[in-house]
């Protein structure tokens, strides 16, 4: 075990963990930030997506040792009250069913739109296909992404 200093949602945390513990479990088990979800552990579903230095990353693939000096944003830190344009768009399109995958979906979409305010349909398809939803809310995710694009370009 070693000590790691992490910047999560603009707060500094110190955690004791093995260097190979994925950020996913650091967030969930050590920091009680359970908005980041466990879905597969092997980069196949996107439920654990967070932002690291502005990029969408799978938290299950980032050993805590590699997260020091990075700026990590989780769903809890995207906005305090759900007022981020992507969250608002998800609200407007009434996207979720069970909702378990949605924090990951939102983080993926938010990171994409932060880099590119007008992504092509092809880019959206490709980026959003990294996140699975078993309830099948893809139709509404598409709707929400277009609401968000409109909103951030106003």
């Amino acid at each position: 075990m070693a000590s790691f200093s992490l910047n999560v949602n603009n707060k500094q945390y110190t955690v004791e963990a093995d260097a190979d513990m994925p950020l996913l479990w650091v967030l969930r088990d050590l920091l009680d930030l359970t908005g980041t979800k466990y879905g597969c552990g092997v980069a196949s579903c996107g439920a654990c997506t967070v932002m690291m230095d502005g990029n969408a990353v799978y938290a299950c693939q980032k050993p805590v040792g590699s997260c020091v000096n990075k700026k990590i944003i989780t769903i809890e830190g995207l906005s305090e009250d759900g007022s981020h344009p992507v969250q608002k768009a998800w609200q407007k399109a009434s996207v979720p069913q069970c909702g378990y995958c949605q924090p990951g979906q939102i983080m993926t979409a938010a990171a994409m739109l932060q880099k590119n305010k007008n992504p092509s349909e092809e880019l959206i398809d490709s980026v959003m296909s990294n996140n699975l939803c078993r309830c099948g809310t893809y139709h509404r995710i598409k709707e929400a992404i277009h609401i968000a694009i409109k909103e951030i370009n106003q």
């Binding site: 075990m1 963990a17 093995d18 513990m21 994925p22 479990w25 969930r28 088990d29 050590l30 009680d32 930030l33 359970t34 908005g35 980041t36 979800k37 466990y38 879905g39 597969c40 552990g41 092997v42 196949s44 579903c45 439920a47 989780t74 769903i75 809890e76 995207l78 906005s79 305090e80 009250d81 759900g82 969250q87 998800w90 609200q91 009434s94 979720p96 069913q97 069970c98 909702g99 378990y100 995958c101 949605q102 924090p103 939102i106 398809d125 490709s126 959003m128 296909s129 996140n131 699975l132 939803c133 078993r134 309830c135 099948g136 809310t137 893809y138 139709h139 509404r140 995710i141 598409k142």
Partner: protein, 734 residues
């Protein structure tokens, strides 16, 4: 307006909601109010389903478990309608386990709204009646001079108003009315209007706590290595390397169980966090005795199905007329096959258990908590009354959490620990060790006489769920919904039968269950018969539905009366909206399917248009669904279920498949058990048939007709797939 007599069962057991001096309400026997000093009153709780605070906020206690189907919204809508309050002032809360009567927490089979509609309307109407009585007392006027209006009572003589919240303490002291009136559908202000999910913002900000997110003080984590073959036993385990992982507390073992849940023998690593347990698990060195059922394969299973399909079914299920008269005459036959499937909920199953002395406390998502408690009690030798259950939000269920194998495992582990423990299933465990939707195979036969369909035979072969839950001596292994008396087409001579084949992996109920299993072959084969008769598939179906009177889906109390007119109604709607009779672009083809749903009085049909790009390559251009589920509570929730149901069903049609070699599942996660992705979701339009019939259910009705509509479109384009997933037949898609 509808008069309803109050049944005492609605007022059971409310005490467990209440705390200290706030124990108010109406309890058996006598249906009279408790005498409570008004100064102690904070809220009014006329029954187990709802509570009204002094500030007018209403809480609806939802017995049905939330897994994404939206009961946390539809239930409050139903109450708010009858109570005459603003829907925004109504919040849903999970009714604590044990506060409702037996069975009321059971969640499945699209029954939630159907089963609770009247009860919740009554609950709202009773509360409103009592609040009105209280207002009448305050104003010293007749109740008939009072009217409820959006959370306030209006004195219709003076037009004074009092808020509900100000009346709750008085209302709490009044007797429960023996009879209340319910609104007419034409007066509905909330039911039937689209509403957003009540807990939407919590989901979108990551605040919602699913079972996996719960933390109990002192809790440890367990990851389990299970016997790779069902029924096998542990010989020995070397845990030396595993125990060296920092954070690992201990390694414990437990035995498997038989019916109903078939828990596999397991070796559990207990650690202070999930990751340490995951790491240590990989270092366990285990010797298993696999038993003698360790050589089974799906390849051999489907060969057995194919051979047995040619013999007489083991169980006669439904017989009408005499199909034998037509043997060999102008006959067409076809066989269809569908694989085992995994539920693959996005939240892998998990469960928290704490065992202290004789007491046991549980936390997690369960669709059938009563059955779970009874079975845990038996398997783990804990008295039922000593088991406390805390139900949690489920990150998807689809039938997976009707099973509670994981709950038994968690208790077996907790019995060997002095702290609470959370059992976590890794995704590999979820895909490899779950109760799978049974593999199935169908042989259909039709005889034509005088240019019409004279005889229909359907032999269903499957690996029945009941062999697992009840044991192989079960009296009713057959899984025949939609292919029994519920077969919807009016054919003069019909015979259906079932042949069970045992197989050594566990099975369970998957969303739409055998309706989905049997609708696929029925709706494809009816198209094949139409083709043989050179009839239009829409006209042919309608000719077999339109003059048929309502029919029963079976014998006994569980059977429903189904309406062929409504089955035809949704089909016509889907066909019309997709432009069935309109000119089609080159290389564009449409397939249709409708069905008899059986679980509830809900009806749905699909029409799917494809563009053929190469002989076996296509793009889905449009999907049109029509649904008739009677009274709609929340149209937005309905649309979400239908849209999502399409995605769920397309996964099954296109690529979902579990295969088995040496009694082991070959798939181990989402890379090998693939789900539909965002970019594969086709454009979808849903049309709702306006109806004031009783509410049906919408969680499952939108699945079964997707695969046959797609396969019928592909058949129209020149190549009919008869085996799912169609990827195995060489199809690909954009």
């Amino acid at each position: 307006m509808k008069k309803v007599t109050i049944d005492r069962r609605h007022f059971l057991k409310i005490t467990s909601f209440s705390t200290g001096s706030l124990a108010i309400g109406f309890m058996l026997p006598g249906l009279s109010a408790l005498a409570i000093p008004l100064s102690d009153c904070e809220f009014f709780q006329p029954n187990a389903y709802l509570k009204i605070d002094k500030n007018g906020k209403v809480t609806v206690f939802v017995g049905k478990q939330e897994s994404g189907q939206g009961v946390d919204t539809s239930f409050p809508m139903i109450v708010a309608e009858e109570l005459d309050v603003d829907f925004k002032d109504v919040k849903a809360a999970i009714a604590p386990y044990g506060t409702l009567k037996e069975g009321e927490h059971d969640t499945g089979g699209s029954q939630s709204v159907l089963g609770m509609y009247d009860t919740l309307r009554n609950a709202g109407a009773v509360a409103k009646a009592m609040i009105i009585s209280a207002a009448a007392q305050v104003w010293k006027i007749k109740e008939t001079s009072c009217a409820a209006d959006n959370g306030e009572v209006v004195n219709t003589i003076t037009m004074q108003r009092i808020k509900y919240g100000e009346l709750v303490c008085k209302a709490a002291l009044l007797p429960v009315p023996k009879q209340v009136s319910l609104k007419s559908a034409k007066d509905f202000k909330i039911i039937g209007k689209p509403a957003k999910r009540s807990n939407l913002n919590d989901i979108l900000t990551g605040k919602t706590k699913y079972g996996l997110d719960l933390k109990i003080a002192g809790m440890l984590y367990a990851i389990v290595e299970r016997c790779p073959v069902l029924g096998g036993t542990l010989v020995k385990v070397d845990d030396t390397a595993a125990k060296k992982i920092p954070g690992v507390i201990k390694v414990i073992t437990y035995k498997g169980t038989g019916a109903p849940m078939h828990v596999r023998a397991g070796v559990a690593v207990i650690a202070i966090n999930t990751w340490s347990a995951i790491k240590a698990r990989k270092l366990l060195n285990i010797t298993w005795d696999e038993g003698n059922k360790n050589k089974e394969s799906t390849e051999a299973l489907f060969k057995t199905f194919a051979a047995k399909a040619l013999t007489k079914p083991q169980i006669d299920v439904f017989n009408k007329g005499d199909v034998s008269k037509f043997a060999g005459n102008n006959e067409i036959t076809a066989t269809y096959a569908q694989p085992f499937l995994a539920h693959a909920t996005m939240e892998p199953v998990n469960f928290i258990a704490s065992v202290t002395g004789e007491k046991c406390e549980l936390w997690g998502g369960l669709q059938l908590p009563d059955w779970a408690v009874n079975t845990v009690s038996k398997e783990c030798s804990i008295k039922k009354e000593n088991i406390k259950v805390n139900l949690a939000m489920m990150g998807g269920a689809f039938g997976r959490r009707l099973h509670f194998d994981f709950a038994i495992e968690a208790v077996k582990i907790a019995q060997q620990l002095d702290k609470p423990v959370q059992l976590v299933w890794e995704r590999t465990d979820d895909v490899q060790f779950q109760p799978y939707r049974p593999a199935n195979y169908h042989r259909l036969k039709a005889n034509i006489e005088n240019n019409s369909l004279a005889a229909w035979q359907h032999h269903v072969l499957g690996t029945p769920i009941a062999y697992m839950t009840d044991g192989p001596n079960t009296k009713h292994p057959e899984e025949m919904d939609g292919a029994n008396a519920g077969f919807c087409y009016n054919v003069p001579n019909v015979y259906t039968g079932y042949t069970p084949v045992d197989f050594n992996i566990n099975r369970g109920w998957l969303r739409s269950v055998d309706i989905c299993v049997n609708t696929f072959p029925v709706e494809c084969f009816i198209d094949e018969v139409a083709e043989k008769l050179k009839k239009d598939p829409l006209d042919f179906r309608l000719s077999l539905l339109e003059n048929r009177p309502d029919f029963k889906t079976g014998e006994g109390p569980g059977s429903l009366t189904q309406s062929p007119a409504r089955i035809a109604g949704v089909l016509k709607m889907a066909a019309q909206k997709i432009g069935w009779t309109a000119a089609r672009k080159p290389n564009h083809f449409i397939g249709l399917a409708t069905h008899s749903f059986i679980f509830a009085k809900s009806y749905a049909a699909h029409a799917i248009e494809i563009e053929l790009l190469e002989p076996k390559k296509f793009r889905i251009k449009r999907v049109v669904a029509a649904i008739d589920c009677g009274t709609v509570i929340n149209p937005d929730g309905l649309l979400n279920q239908m849209q999502g149901g399409l995605a769920f069903a397309l996964t099954q049609a296109l690529k979902g498949e579990i295969t088995v070699t040496d009694s082991r599942v070959n798939q181990d996660g989402f890379f090998s058990y693939e789900l539909l992705t965002y970019e594969e979701m086709p454009p979808v339009e849903i049309y709702i048939i306006d109806s004031s019939e009783e509410p049906g259910g919408v969680g499952e009705v939108g699945l079964s007709t997707v695969a046959p509509a797609l396969c019928n479109a592909l058949a129209a384009a020149g190549n009919r797939p008869r085996n799912l997933p169609i990827r195995n037949e060489g199809f690909s898609w954009l």
